[in-house]
């Protein structure tokens, strides 16, 4: 039994020395479990996140915007692929991971349970949702598990393009006609608070955080990341003349940060529990695509088997 203790010490020493953990290295079961949960949730978020944005591909108001949106949603699918592959390095098959999403067992980011109601929502999602995701993802480029960290480096490059295109949509709307500006402000009003919720519960209410920090899966706390996001985004809103929907928002000369209001955690818990505006639709859409695609996947497998058999003969 001293062996396991020794292995744990070696594992932790590696992490403390900023060395990456690789798939074949020994790791505590809890570390593996924690990462499988986190990376698969992340993968599901990329894939479910295609739905609210894909919702506007057919209606993008210019061909240039349509092309950018198509490219962006395609990137998200690619992110889903890298991340499912990262989960596979931990010994869980992609089929199993996806089945957990489809059965409702696995979670994905609750933000995608909100609807994209107007074109400005595509701007707000890029600016705020991708902007909030980047905070987390930049941190994850230095996470202790090698395959996850390396996937994140590539993902971050694309996400920063996504954030910029979203901000640019908002900037164009904000300096456009009064109706366009109103559309942009309305989208900001609806997406602001859910975006802040993306960072998760407050540090005081985040029981797994301490262990994740010790293992360097996470390297900054939820509250720290949330504050950095707010400080940065408030200034971006000012530049384009939009107003953050928080009457308590105020620069604090002493802390050099913005003070801000309170998140409605009842809403957060409701959406996590499955009662957001689009939870049912999102899961139904994923299940429909999966079920209707079954015969396609079966055909591909059957053909590959026939081909292999003919080659062997």
């Amino acid at each position: 039994m001293t062996d396991v203790k020794n292995l744990e010490d070696i594992f932790q020493a590696k992490i403390d020395a900023e060395q990456k953990i690789e798939p074949k290295d020994w790791m505590p079961d809890a570390y593996r479990k924690n990462l499988i949960r986190q990376i698969s949730q992340h993968a599901h978020s990329e894939v479910v996140g295609m739905l609210p944005e894909g919702n506007w591909i057919s209606r993008a108001p210019s061909l240039k915007r349509k092309a950018i949106l198509l490219a962006k949603v395609q990137d998200e699918a690619g992110h889903g692929l890298y991340l499912y592959s990262a989960v596979e390095t931990m010994g869980t098959s992609r089929e199993q991971t996806i089945d957990d999403l489809l059965s409702g067992k696995a979670k994905y980011s609750s933000i995608f349970n909100y609807p994209t109601l107007t074109w400005a929502d595509i701007g707000a999602v890029g600016w705020l949702v991708d902007g909030a995701a980047i905070m987390n993802q930049v941190m994850l480029c230095r996470t202790s598990y090698g395959p996850y960290a390396r996937a994140m480096v590539r993902i971050c490059k694309e996400e920063s393009f996504h954030q910029r295109q979203g901000y640019e949509i908002m900037a164009v709307l904000a300096k456009g006609s009064p109706e366009q500006k109103e559309m942009a402000q309305d989208a900001l009003n609806r997406w602001w608070w859910p975006s802040l919720m993306m960072f998760g519960p407050t540090d005081a209410n985040s029981p797994h955080s301490a262990q994740s920090m010790k293992w360097k899966i996470k390297r900054q706390s939820n509250d720290e990341l949330r504050q950095t996001f707010i400080d940065r985004t408030v200034q971006q809103a000012e530049v384009i003349g939009l107003t953050i929907p928080d009457p308590d928002l105020k620069w604090n000369e002493e802390t050099k940060h913005y003070d801000w209001g309170t998140i409605d955690w009842t809403e957060f818990n409701n959406v996590v529990a499955g009662n957001g505006p689009c939870n049912k639709e999102r899961l139904a859409a994923r299940n429909k695509a999966h079920n209707e695609g079954a015969w396609v996947r079966e055909a591909a497998v059957a053909y590959a088997a026939k081909k292999a058999k003919r080659k062997a003969a």
């Binding site: 295609m50 209606r59 198509l70 949603v73 395609q74 692929l81 859409a285 695609g293 079966e298 059957a302």
Partner: protein, 250 residues
Amino acid sequence: MSQALFTYTLRLADDILILSQRLGEWCGHGPILEEDIALTNRALDHLGEARNLLTYAGQVEGKGRTEDDLAYLRMERQYTSVKLVEQPNGDYAHTMVRSFLFDAYHLPLMQALTKSKDEQLAAIAGKSVKEATYHLRASSEWIIRFGDGTEESHQRAQAALDNLWTFTGELFENDLVLEEMTKAGIAPDMTAVKAAWSKTIDEVLAEATLKRPEDGFMATGGRKGLHSEHMGFILAEMQHVTRAYPGVSW
């Protein structure tokens, strides 16, 4: 001449724009993640080609219309795409057969257009050939997988072929515009394009163990703006935001 060139360029653009619009509907709903990416990529390639062609059509016309004016502010009677591309996605077999029938025409057309006497069309075609080559390879591979895969996939692919075959005649229809363009060395010889199309169809269907449908009644009208009822809905969806806020930038 410039009127015929405008119409001819617009036809090329409309086919590929409407097909892109249809393929974009799949985004997020594909049968497997890799296919979701492939379909979106295909939609994006088609859209890129459509934008180049629309911009050029606007220049040829000389009335200052942009790619967006032409895409968003024409009604269905002014759209000149073939009926094949506006057909609903249906199941994945319908989507892939529709693309296969189109890709097998699009590749030899683009290859021939690279030798067009119109330098701009030749340049646009030159850029498209590379994409069109892998589009055809990918759709052919799916037709073969479906045809020679399971019994269900075979039946679905054959049904899609039988349903969509009536829309293939329009790809090769001749009229005064095409005659003028061919005479001027701008449009290629369409009998050669058709021969290449037909050869691809035969080869791929043979490997897929699918049956080439008989040439029966062929649908027509798209080039004159006489579309199926689907077209109005495609345009309503595509254009509604742009039309609701006229004259603004996005």
